[in-house]
Point group: C2
Chain length 211, copies 2
């Protein structure tokens, strides 16, 4: 194996370093965050940093750069307090990637990318129409990460939309069957194939497949 030190990383050309370091955390979630500002201008942006924080109550977090340069997603969430997180399905990856282009605030990425906004049950933020899993959230907390001046945004799940056939008897949501993709690095999109599911692990007992 090649040994790469912090000093090597610091000496790398910028894009080379971005490509390498963005891949080393492992596979990432692939989500579109939908927001709207007070003028009704919609925003839709791709994030690979959405993570699970808790189940009861249900909380999700995501990491973003601060709004020192225009960050429409963060600004809209601060303004309106509600936003949506929408899984990216296999047939959506090109449009989803397009949403990362830096369009000005007055332009809706929905129009430019071909993704369609969808309003459900009077929730103020737009969902993404063809997304296989759609989540409506309320802003709970903005946490500054001092080390590199990023922000973790924490939200509570108020609404969840998912195909009933993807939820197993034990509650497990089969997001592979739903068509959700994974991201690696800055720009690589992946379908998945289940290898196994395992029962809750207990000391001294062999791991049991629940496949």
């Amino acid at each position: 194996m090649k040994h790469i030190t912090l000093n090597d990383i610091e000496q790398m050309e910028k894009v080379y370093r971005l490509n390498l370091i963005n891949a080393i955390s492992g596979f990432k979630s692939a989500n579109l965050i939908g927001t709207v500002d007070e003028q009704g201008i919609e925003n839709c942006a791709i994030f690979s940093s959405v993570i699970h924080l808790g189940s009861n109550p249900p909380y999700l977090g995501f990491v973003t750069r601060p709004a020192t340069v225009p960050r429409h997603t963060l600004e809209n969430i601060r303004e309106r307090k509600y936003y949506t997180i929408n899984h990216i399905g296999g047939e959506m990856i090109e449009a989803a990637h397009h949403s990362s282009a830096k369009y000005p605030q007055e332009v809706s990425e929905f129009e430019k990318t071909g993704l369609s906004p969808q309003y459900l049950n009077e929730f103020i933020a737009p969902y993404v129409q063809n997304s296989p899993v759609k989540i409506g959230l309320q802003l709970m907390e903005e946490i500054p990460i001092k080390t590199n001046d990023t922000i973790m945004v924490v939200g509570k799940v108020l609404h969840l939309y998912i195909d009933e056939n993807c939820i197993g008897q034990d509650g497990h949501a089969d997001i592979e069957q739903a068509g959700t993709v994974a991201i690696s690095g800055l720009d690589s999109y992946h379908g998945t194939t289940r290898l196994n599911r395992f029962a809750y692990a207990r000391p001294g007992q062999p791991v049991k497949s629940i496949g």
Copy 2:
């Protein structure tokens, strides 16, 4: 699509809710965190919450419950300040899942699960021998997430070990080729198949495949 509200989620049976809500953030990274305490007792634990925070300097974060009940990974990181993050490869998933069993502090999960500790270049924390991507980190910051009393641990990458053949000319690390898996929900392990890679997206321009 089925519409599930916060109230529905609050009323769910506990394990059903855990299975459902743990799956809705999307696919997750699959990593083993290696630590050692001051007595030299090693710990190896699976985490699906490792995320990318920055490339220059290179920072990774992960989320953990606070150490109000024994959390050997967090306690060891606090004690020693250095730890490792190791990708889980397809042939390691059973042993990796086993590491989530609650063994007491004096027991090394390495011994119980069949994973082997590996010490490289005088770094004090153990890597996981067969892991396809191994990272040595230094603790930078512990960030309390007040909303649900969890903690984000931020570390700086000091060392990175990866097969040279998995690094492209542009720096992109092909973790699919390396054999890294993804996790969904609490207990589901997935291999991946690349769908596409896309060039940096620019306003008004079609998205270009870089395959």
